[in-house]
């Protein structure tokens, strides 16, 4: 499950590898990528990620919490 999530995110970001510690606003994960991530994760996992909580996101682990 975790592995699949990381692979999915890596594919969207078009990078070799990401980890749960990959941090927001570093590397390819800018605000436009955040938008893409929310869109893709919602569609892929059939969840609704509350906009309010996005302000607290620091790493991919925080994103994973929305979908697991």
């Amino acid at each position: 499950m975790e592995q699949k999530f990381l692979e999915f995110v890596a594919e969207i970001m078009e990078v070799e590898q990401v980890t749960m510690d990959t941090a927001y606003r570093e590397g390819k994960w800018d605000s436009l990528m955040m938008l893409t991530l929310v869109m893709e994760l919602e569609a892929e996992y059939g969840v609704s990620i509350p906009m309010e909580s996005l302000g607290h996101v620091k790493t991919l682990a925080d994103m994973y919490a929305f979908v697991k």
Binding site: L35, V38, M39, E40, E42, S48, I49, M51, L54
Partner: protein, 550 residues
């Protein structure tokens, strides 16, 4: 020559960075700075839009914007402003394609059951305006966003969250769909279209096997289960009406298949809808190659449709350039299957009157070939065809067809210079220059406008800038007739030029054959001249009629 990416200017009232992200591998994009600044860009003649010199412009207008309008008056003002912006684009961008989106407004559902729907009226007002542009401007086309949204469904197409977060209103599905539709529209402008669909018969155009089930027994009707094949045929017929031609490649007894095509009451496609029929027990790849040769077409112009995966694999192996789509296992999807092929590979920007006659033209071509086989030599053959040629200066209504030929003719094209419609018009208007067109017909039918000659004036001489001919009429020595008439008219030195390309080898020695003298050759590029001042006009008695009108 390196295959450069096309430069696309994308103008929109919503954020389109994510659309660019989906398409940037294929195209380079120009986006105006800032949010919803496209109207200023359009109206300001020194803006980035114009200095970018795009290869195409896409104006994508989304109805989500209406959410910010205070009242219906504001909406009307906005649409008026858009019209002004479009008018500015129409005067600033006259040669490259401009795609203008239709719009779908999300009507506020908090309303009674008797209130006016202003959005509806604005949508229609905008549609009328945009459609009018496509009719009056040869480089304007409709990008039907409203239809795309309806097709996907608004709930699935949009995402409020995306809109609030970024002013980009689409869901993942919406974003993928709108990106794909933009790509398809650009493909219609930049990717050669497939021209012929070669079709299997049994379990493809109808259900069942006619050789076993009989004409009465095949599955085909205008309602219920058999309608899936009827609908498929209707889609093919609609494509045929728009210039895509149809052929048959089927393993069958010819009499059985012909009987079904002729007699079945629900067949929409009849005998004269097909340009070529290969109904036999021969390998299909062999049949398809024979069809290519017969119609003077290349493999890349073909789509082959067959329900049998073994046949498809054989054809894919033998004809790698041919498009061989997977046939739907669930035949209730045939209608959409046809639609996808059309949208991805066949849909042209515009249908010209010459395109409408294509099926007939290719059919007569097949008859001509038969005649050639029975004739003793080429002159006898030409005489038997009763060919006419009508040569005259280009008229304004012929400009579209001339531009089409100038931009797509590859084989009989000595210089392969590509000009836009406006450039051709400008050349024709320049004193000393001339653009001539040639029409031809024979006893089997009218081939229409088949040749273009562009003459440019030099001191003491006339240079043949462009000389091209449609491959439909190659091999009839019409080039002799055309040069004969023009040389007699020009009456001074005539200079001809051959610029080699990958495809124009058939005219490599054209000028020598026409009696010109070679004056230089450099890396395959040849320069020729003829003394037009002392030219003695020849008589060509093998043609039925030759008309020249200056």
């Amino acid at each position: 020559m390196a295959d450069l990416k096309k430069k696309i200017a994308l103008l929109s009232n919503v954020t389109v960075d994510l659309i660019v992200g989906k398409l940037r591998r294929k195209y380079d994009f120009y986006l105006p700075e800032g949010f919803d600044t496209w109207v200023q860009e359009a109206i300001n003649p020194s803006s980035g839009l114009y200095s970018y010199k795009p290869d195409a412009v896409v104006v994508l207008l989304d109805g989500m914007e209406a959410r910010s309008w205070k009242n219906s008056e504001e909406g009307m003002e906005r649409v008026l402003l858009w019209k002004q912006a479009l008018t500015a684009i129409a005067s600033g961008i006259t040669t490259v394609p401009v795609f203008v989106s239709t719009i779908a407004f999300q009507e506020n559902r908090i309303r009674s059951l008797s209130e006016r729907k202003y959005g509806c009226e604005l949508e229609n007002d905008w549609y009328q305006y945009a459609q009018g542009l496509t009719e009056n401007r040869s480089n304007f086309y409709l990008f039907d966003l409203a239809d795309t949204i309806a097709e996907v469904g608004r709930r699935q197409f949009y995402s409020n969250k995306m809109w609030y977060m970024s002013s980009m209103p689409y869901s993942r599905d919406g974003l993928n769909t709108v990106s794909k539709e933009i790509d398809r529209a650009l493909d219609a402008a930049f990717t050669p279209r497939r021209k012929i669909i070669a079709l299997d018969l049994d379990n493809t155009l109808w259900g069942g096997v006619v050789g076993e089930d009989g004409v009465e027994g095949i599955e085909l009707s205008d309602h219920k289960e058999g309608q899936r094949y009827y609908d498929f045929q209707r889609q093919l017929l609609e494509m045929k009406k728009r210039g895509t031609i149809l052929g048959i490649v089927s393993k069958n007894n010819e009499e059985d298949a012909e009987a079904a095509i002729r007699e079945h009451p629900a067949m929409l496609l009849r005998d004269d809808d097909f340009v070529s029929r290969k109904i036999n027990w021969e390998n299909k790849a062999v049949n398809l190659k024979a069809m290519e040769a017969e119609l003077n077409m290349t493999e890349g112009g073909f789509v082959f449709i067959d329900d049998n995966p073994v046949e498809r694999e054989t054809v894919k192996g033998e004809c790698p350039e041919m498009l061989v789509p997977d046939f739907p296992e669930d035949t209730t999807q045939l209608l959409e299957f046809a639609e996808e092929i059309w949208l991805d590979h066949c849909r042209p920007l515009r249908v010209l009157s010459e395109d409408l006659k294509k099926t007939q033209m290719y059919q007569t071509e097949a008859k001509r070939k038969q005649e050639l086989n029975q004739s003793l030599n080429l002159d006898d053959y030409i005489a038997k065809l009763e060919i006419t040629a009508d040569i005259h200066r280009m008229r304004p209504e012929e400009l579209d067809r001339v531009a089409q030929l100038v931009n797509k003719t590859n084989q009989f094209n000595v210089t392969t210079k590509r000009y836009t419609r406006d450039e051709i018009e400008a050349i024709a208007k320049t004193p000393g220059n001339a653009v001539y067109v040639v029409y031809s017909s024979d006893k089997y039918g009218d081939s229409g406008l088949i040749s273009v000659v562009i003459l440019k004036s030099m001191t003491e001489a006339i240079r043949i800038d462009t000389f091209l001919m449609s491959c439909r009429v190659m091999g009839r020595k019409l080039e002799n007739v055309i040069i004969n008439e023009l040389a007699a008219k020009i009456g001074k030195k005539i200079v001809g030029e051959y610029c080699p390309t990958a495809k124009n080898a058939p005219v490599k020695d054209l000028y020598e054959r026409l009696g010109f003298t070679k004056i230089s050759e450099d890396d395959g590029h040849g320069l020729y001249e003829m003394d037009g001042a002392n030219y003695t006009k020849k008589e060509y008695s093998i043609y039925k009629q030759i008309r020249f009108e200056d």
